[in-house]
Structure formats: C-alpha cells, structure tokens
C-alpha cells in the first residue's frame, strides 16, 4: 500500500477513535424478566423510621446516634453505615403533611435498583452486578478497588464509601439479598417493607407495583382506598384511608431507563430531592459512544498498524537523511 493510503487509514482510524465513527446506539436496558422492587408512597409514610432501624439490623450496621437521642436511628443521609434513610421536605411553616407550600413530606432514600444501572455500567472490575432475573443490583467487595466511579455515576448518590476506615468498602442497599442475607431468594420480603406500619414501603414484583402505582395516582382525591401492607402479591393486611392528591407521576417508571424501586407522592419530586433525569440512561449513551469508538478493539488495532508503518517510515527517513 502507498504511504498516503496508510496515512489516511491511520488518520481515519484515529479520528474514528474519538467518536466520529458511525454510532450504533445501544438503547436503555429492559427490566429484568422477574424484576422485584418496592413502591414507596410518600403520602403514607409517617416518618417513624422503623425501616431505617430494620435495615441496620438486617445488614448488621451500627445505628447513627445524634444528640444522645437513641430511640431511633438519627442518620441524616446515606453513608457507609446507613443504606436507607427517611428525609424530610419542609416549606414555610411546615404545618400540613404532603403540601408543597407551608407543608412537609417524607422521602425515602435508598438504592433505586435501576433497570439500567449506572453503577454496574461504569465499574471497571464488575464489582456491581445486576441480577439478570430479579434485577437486584448487588455489590461484590472482593473485586472492588475503591475507585468510586460508581458513586459519581449513580444519579442518586447511592453507593457510599467508608472514608473513615483504613480498609473501608462501598456500601449500598442490595435489596436484602446479598450473600449471607438472601431474604428475597428465601421467599421473604425486604426488611424495610416488612416493618413498615402503613405500607408506605411495599414490596413486590415491579410489574404489580407499577400497576398499583398507576392505580393510586389515578384515584380521585377524597375517595377512600384500601391500602395493602408488606408484599403486594400476598399482603399481610390492609387499611382504609382517604386518597390524597397524588402528582400524576410514578418516579421510576421511565427515569433514566426506569427503576425497580418506584416512588409516588403529593409533592413534586424535584422538591423531594430527586435529580433532573431524562428517559435515556447515561450508561446507555456512554456505552454507545465507547463501543462505537472501539468497535471491539478493531479500530485501535488498525490505527496501531497504520501508526507503526508511518512512524517506521519517518524514523527511517531520518536515518537516511543523516540526522544531526
């Protein structure tokens, strides 16, 4: 081949390397075949934090005590010691529950178990894994190098590193199904759903929970509805309650590809601290770009071949030209 052609191939290959190649986009991942999750209904939550305590017990983590007040856990945010936390939205006088103005509302923060999880996509050592059947996202510390890319790439800031320990590790909610706990595999429900007194945290298959969420958000405010507790496929009990004014929005149906843990509420989700997400997952875009750039290493190999040829030629030129 002529030198010009090689030069062109090299430049072409190198240009394609930086994203000018034809992009075969990967769409968002689909929900796992038997995806399980939770539905958190903020309007039912009474802020008792029973779920926070139970979560610590299931995961064998110490309670966070503030001001010597140790009736319940007083963790304020997720950390290496806290996988689940109830946060409070407050506005003005904060007098009316579930009102955006002069009101207050509760919001549960724990792993959303994304359908297309950023943490799984970015982990260089496959220490974050999505179960293909249940969709549960688990962490495997034995491979983790602690680069914390999962933290910066999780839209919800869920994975938390134990900064205060010399040999710390990443912690996140694994839907009570990590090795050694395996509540879901054993046919139990998640700890937080089990202890929730009002059914604000409801366990079940993603499909059933999504149906339930849509049913609730379509109800007429003021009517009464029979709310289940525990596991939606076999509720332990029900309680009748007046229907609040839901926002017509199921968080997690579509956000960044959807989540297995979904939320509904009377207060807009941005006020509850949810991030501004579109429907496309960042993971799917990054992977599309990266794979079209690399096309499974074919382009880098081509570019290397071209570069080697060109460099060799140019170094030979120098020798012939009697380099100073």
């Amino acid at each position: 081949m002529k030198r010009r052609d090689f030069l062109k191939a090299t430049l072409g290959g190198t240009a394609a390397l930086v994203g000018a190649g034809n992009v075969e986009a990967r769409p968002n991942l689909e929900p796992a075949t038997e995806a399980v999750g939770m539905l958190y209904d903020s309007t039912l939550c009474v802020g008792c934090k029973a779920c926070v305590s139970k979560c610590k017990e299931v995961n064998d983590m110490p309670p966070v005590i503030e001001n010597g007040e140790n009736a319940w856990d007083s963790a304020r945010d997720l950390s290496g010691d806290t996988l689940n936390v109830i946060k409070v939205y407050r506005d003005g006088a904060a007098a009316v529950k579930d009102a955006e103005i002069d009101g207050f509302a509760f919001e549960k923060r724990s792993c959303m178990h994304c359908v297309d999880p950023g943490c799984v996509s970015v982990c260089p050592v496959t220490a974050m894994r999505r179960n293909p059947k249940t969709g549960i996202v688990t962490h495997h510390a034995e491979a983790c190098i602690g680069c914390r890319t999962c933290m910066v790439s999780c839209p919800y800031n869920v994975p938390q590193f134990q900064y205060n320990e010399l040999f710390g590790q990443i912690h996140k909610c694994q839907m009570c199904n990590q090795a050694g706990v395996e509540r879901i595999d054993k046919g139990q429900m998640t700890g937080c759903a089990e202890v929730c007194p009002t059914g604000a945290t409801l366990f079940g298959s993603r499909k059933l929970l999504l149906e339930e969420a849509k049913r609730r958000t379509a109800l007429k405010p003021g009517d009464s509805y029979n709310y289940p507790r525990g596991d939606i496929s076999k509720p332990e009990s029900y309680h009748e309650k007046e229907v609040p004014t839901y926002k017509p929005h199921v968080w997690g149906e579509k956000e960044a590809g959807g989540t297995n843990v979904m939320h509904i509420s009377s207060v807009a989700f941005d006020k509850l601290g949810m991030p501004p997400l579109g429907e496309r997952s960042a993971a799917s875009i990054a992977e599309s770009v990266q794979h079209s750039v690399y096309s499974f290493m074919a382009l880098p190999a081509l570019a290397l071949a071209g570069l080697t040829y060109v460099v060799r030629r140019n170094t030979n030129d120098e020798d012939e030209g009697g380099d100073a």
Binding site: V18, G19, C123, I145, T149, Q169, V311, N314
Partner: protein
Amino acid sequence: MSGHQALGGRILTKPFMVLMVIWLIGSFFGVQRFFMDGMGAVSNLNGGYAWGIWVVYDVVVGTAFACGGYALAIAVYVFNKGRYHPLVRSAVLASLLGYAMGGFGAFFDMGRFWQFYEIFLPKNWNFNAVMLEVGLCVAIYIIVLFLEFAPAVLERLGMRNAQNTLNKVLFFLIALGVLLPTMHQSSLGSLLITMGHKIHPLWQTMHFQPLLALVTALIMGFSIVVFEASTSAVSFGRQPESSLLSGLSKAVIGLLSFFLLVRVVILLLQGKLGLIFAGDLGSLLFLFEMALFIIPLVILLSPARRSRGSQLLIAAVSMLFAGAMYRFNAFLITYDPGPGYSYFPSTPEIMITLSIIALELMIYLVLVKTLPVLHSEA
C-alpha cells in the same frame, strides 16, 4: 553521540530543598492516609463528591499536562517533521513523570488500594466501563514512556548493545505512544458522559466529550513543548529556535480554532447558548475559560507577537490554564451531585497533591542534571 547532554551542577540547591520540605509534609499526611486513619481523615471527600483534587488534578489535569511527549511524537513522527527531534527526549521524560504522578494520585485516591491488582485480572474486566480502559491504558502507557526514555539511561551507562536492541523496536513503542494517549485522553471525556446530570449543561456535551477531551489534551501537550523548548534553550544560554516554535504555533492555531468552533457549535446545536450569559457561576467560568483559549489564539495569529518570547510565554501559559480550567470546570467546580453536598479540598489533601508534584520536579531536576536528556541544539 546523540547530542544530548547532562546539565551537571549541584543537586542540593535551594529550590530543591524547598521541594523536599513540601514533599516531606505531604508524606506525613500520606502515612496518615495509608497506615493510620484512612482517606476520610486527610480529605474532604464525601458521599456526593467522591472525586476531589486527587482525581481531577493529579489524574485528569495532570496527565493532560503530561501530553507533551504525545503531542511531540505526533508532530515529529506521524507528520514527519524530523526537525523537532532534539526535543523529544526531554518531552518524554516530562511525560513519564507527569503520568507517574497521575498514577501516584490515583493510588492515593484508591479506596481499596490493597487490592489494586484486581483491575489487572481479566476475569474482572467490564468492557462497558470507561474506567477500565482509562486504568489499563494509562498503566501500559507509563511502561511505554519508561521504555521510550530508557535510551537516555542506557547511553549514560554505556550499554550500547541494549541501546541498539531497543532502537530497533523503538518505532513500535512510539506508535503505541501515539495510540494510547489518543485512547485514554478521549476516554477521560467519556467519563463525563456517565456522570449525566451532575455535569453542568455547558460542559455536558454528551457524544462530543471524547473529542473535546482529546483536543484539550493536544493543546496542553503542545504548550508544554513550547515551555520546554524555551527552558532547554535557557539552560544552554541561547535563544529558542524560532523555526521550531513557529512550526508548533501553526499546529496550535489549528487546534485552538477547532476547539473554539466545535465548542460553540455544540452549544448551538444543543440549544444551550443562552446559558453562556445566564450570569451565574457556570456562565462566568465558561466565559473565563473561553477567554483563556482566545488569548493565545490572538497572540499566535500575529507574526509580530509570536516572534516575541514574552508573548509566546503568555500564550503558552494561557493555553495551559485554558485546558486545565476546562477539565476542572467540567469535573469539579461546576459538578453538582444534588442538594446536601459540598466540597473544597482539605489542607492535607492539597499538601498530598503538592508533595506529589514536588517529588516529580525533584526527580526531573536530578535526571536532567545526571542523564543526557536536554539537547544542546534545541
């Protein structure tokens, strides 16, 4: 001989002692980080800001500063401008030290440093992960740079045979030395894609991230070369060779114009031009950053200005800051993980970064004084 000379002279000069003090202070905190209390005690990293200056300065910005070897290799070998050749060795040394510093920084930042080797085990590899590509590519590139620099050491030791053997495969190492930075420098941009909404819209250009990251790497690489050209000339008490600098200037003019054009067109296409004049922190930083890219362009476009050493120096410094600002803004200053989190580096965190830089400079000074690195004709 190759025309490269060791500078000679005393090692323990005053500046060297100052660097040593900085290095010692940083090492004290390093001991605390690795042997006593962990990284929480020495850094302000938190649940929202998982990456601070160790990643963003030492790795993301630092390796771009270290792109001199990369930029020069493209100019010298790929585009066949053999006349830049005398500068390559010192550029390679600076790159080697810069990348090694990035590696150090990454290790300080590695939460589970005791099992760092897990990333080298193929059974763990996640081919979807940009971080895997960055990690492996940078590691291999450090080895490549080391081998590219080895002739200087072998020459000093008088090992002609080894030197000849290495020279036979040097062309392949140089080709790798062009390919690998192209790969991982563009991938540093792809990391921003995965961070999605946490990146300010003015910097979240999605598909264009790898391209912009690569162009800034080249811009910073070339400005470092201009720097080195003048320092090398100064050490030998001569004027920097102007034909060399004007050649480099042309490449830089092209890169700067390309960057500015692409940057603005992307914002236009993505409907974000309005954000530039929003008057908030993001827009101010953006305007400042753009000014830093425009200043060197203005200087270099005028033949009168670019022939003056002082103007050239302003252009080079401005470019270095421009590229660094671009990366700092995108990765850290405008990075927003959501309500409840804030970050400013702690004193020990800053000292650790400074100590790594100090170590890098000390090694550089020792090596240019003892090994044939600088070229008397550059």
